[in-house]
């Protein structure tokens, strides 16, 4: 059951320019959080900014009771977060949302992350590895300096492949350019993907062509994070038509085949 916790900041560190890792002591949330779930952080204590900001659980140390998020500084809320110091407390609501499904007998999984879309995939990789699956991660970014999560993944024994738009590291091109050869060569059980929606659409398409099942984690502006405001709607297929689901509640993880992507 999700809860509101006053989490103490253990670490708030810029890892590459514009991206920070924030580690929080939040034992109640850490105990429950599963890969793909997110937390909703109240930034500041005044009425501006007003709404909580949602962030995926990037890593989770249940024993210590620490959860880590990886965030990109994009606006006012994340800008304020970047100023926070160790020892300060943050009001955190979580864990929220439907986690990635981790079928019991996963043998070989492939993770595809673009930019800060890596955030939900690192904890997923950790749990997958713990369960004995062979994990390949395809990590994409615009340029080498924006590649995220590589060290974490390598530390777990994940096979890591890289694409950059500008070719400054790994394969030049988009993650889909790196994915096609992988899917041709190997036989995966499951694919997980998070990144910009057009990228997820292309990955979902490719997975479909290769007959591979998979899941994506979506994003949408949120107010409540718990299914009450109906703000975070996204289209899913319903027969020939579509209907809206709440990302915070019925997602953020969805089967690749059910999502109507905004491209």
């Amino acid at each position: 059951m999700s809860l509101v916790e006053q989490a103490v900041i253990i670490r708030n560190e810029e890892i590459v320019p514009g991206y920070l890792e924030l580690e929080l002591r939040a034992p109640g949330i850490a105990r429950q959080a599963l890969p793909g779930q997110f937390i909703n952080i109240r930034v500041g204590s005044t009425l501006d900014p007003l709404l909580r900001r949602p962030f995926s659980v990037y890593d989770n140390d249940k024993n210590a009771g620490d959860i880590t998020i990886l965030y990109k500084v994009v606006g006012r809320g994340t800008g304020m977060m970047a100023e926070l110091d160790m020892g300060e407390t943050l009001d955190v609501l979580g864990p929220l949302g439907r986690p990635f499904s981790l079928p019991e007998n996963l043998q070989r999984v492939v993770l595809v992350g673009g930019g800060v879309g890596m955030a939900p995939l690192v904890y997923l990789a950790r749990v997958s590895c713990e369960r004995g699956a062979a994990v390949t991660a395809l990590v994409g970014a615009r340029t080498a300096s924006e590649l995220l999560g590589l060290n974490h993944l390598r530390g777990m024994g994940v096979k890591v492949m890289v694409t950059t738009d500008d070719g400054s590291q790994g394969i030049q091109g988009q993650v889909t350019d790196g994915l096609e050869p992988l899917l041709t060569e190997s036989d995966y059980d499951f694919i997980y993907c998070c990144g910009p929606e057009p990228m997820m659409a292309r990955v979902a398409d490719m997975a479909h062509r290769y007959g591979l099942k998979g899941e994506v984690a979506l994003e949408e502006n949120m107010a409540c994070g718990i299914g009450a405001c109906l703000g975070c709607a996204h289209r899913v297929k319903q027969g020939q038509d579509y209907s809206y689901v709440q990302i915070c509640h019925e997602g953020p993880v969805f089967s690749m085949s059910e999502v109507v992507f905004d491209v």
């Binding site: 059951m1 007003l50 709404l51 909580r52 502006n221 718990i226 109906l230 703000g231 996204h234």
Partner: protein
């Protein structure tokens, strides 16, 4: 006896909102509390004065495309577009849950024609476990070119009369703040049979994305809610409460007990928490506790003594 029960014994928090007995004046606003279930981890649902459920229509509504919400200074805009599963699903799936939780349930109803309001009311009138109806008149009147029912005294009264004829349940009418003369609308709907009024619904607003140079919301316009609008809501409650005989539910920007108290002093018999639930899902119960403590500390035995105390 628990500490809380002791407090309750000392002070009276019960109020009557046009025939609805509320254990305390703190309710949660339509569209911000889902069907209660979403908050069961954070709030004792039975303890709330009432739960006003999401705006319910005769048929299911898909709602608007996204983005539907955006933060604004001390507020937010929403253009959810009355997404709801329709009254039948509400009755089958959500009402039994709320009954089981012993919540005091007020159903917020919406329609595009007077006929729709009437039929919806007739359906809900037959259900167990509904304490009252809240009529949302900030809906486009499709028979009058989409102008909102709530912006004209006659049209507003028309909706309310139709609802009134179809139920013996207490009828609360929720007024739109986007009007020149809210008192005139209030008088008209009271004359048409409203047992209570709730005000305010959201202010019409918009935001523009300077990156894309387009309106942020897919719907272009949205409803402004949250602390930003509190001064407007409070003013309207104060104006209307002095001019009509029926009790008022104050809504708009309440995020703590001090805000709630301001509304009560302005003349509200009950208050409703909307956007505040998004900031802190446990806020409604917290406000009940805090108001109780305030009464105890101030030696006020009955919260009703404070209703309208700021009138000059």
């Amino acid at each position: 006896m628990s500490e809380r029960n002791q407090v309750q014994a000392e002070v009276n928090m019960e109020v009557n909102l046009g025939g609805i007995a509320l254990a305390n004046p703190v309710t949660v606003a339509s569209g911000t509390f889902g069907y209660g279930r979403e908050y069961e981890a954070y709030v004792d649902l039975a303890r709330l004065g009432a739960i006003i459920v999401k705006g319910t229509t005769l048929e299911p509504r898909a709602g608007n495309p996204t983005p539907r919400i955006i933060e604004t200074p001390a507020g937010m805009l929403n253009a959810v577009g009355l997404q709801n599963p329709g009254v039948d699903v509400f009755i089958q799936e959500h009402l039994p849950y709320l009954r089981e939780k012993q919540a005091t349930v007020i159903v917020n109803i919406a329609g595009n024609t007077v006929e729709e309001y009437a039929r919806l009311t007739a359906i809900l009138d037959k259900q167990d476990g509904i304490a009252g109806l809240e009529v949302n008149i900030s809906c486009p009147n499709v028979e009058k070119g989409g102008l909102q029912f709530g912006t004209d005294p006659n049209t507003a009264a028309g909706v309310v009369a139709a609802v009134r004829q179809n139920t013996s349940l207490p009828v609360i009418v929720k007024l739109s703040p986007n009007v020149t003369d809210v008192v005139a609308i209030a008088r008209a709907v009271v004359e048409a049979g409203a047992d209570a009024l709730s005000l305010i619904n959201t202010l019409l607003g918009m935001a523009i994305d300077i990156e894309t140079r387009r309106p942020v919301l897919a719907n272009i316009f949205g409803g402004l809610s949250g602390p930003a609008i509190k001064p407007v809501a409070l003013r309207m409650v104060y104006q209307v409460a002095r001019e009509v005989e029926v009790p008022i539910m104050g809504v708009g920007g309440i995020v703590n007990w001090q805000d709630a108290l301001e509304f009560i002093l302005a003349g509200a018999t009950a208050v409703s928490i909307g956007t505040g639930n998004f900031i802190n899902p446990g806020i409604s119960e917290q406000i009940i506790d805090d108001l109780e403590n305030y009464l105890v500390e101030q030696g006020i035995r009955d919260i009703r003594q404070l209703i309208g105390a700021a009138w000059l």
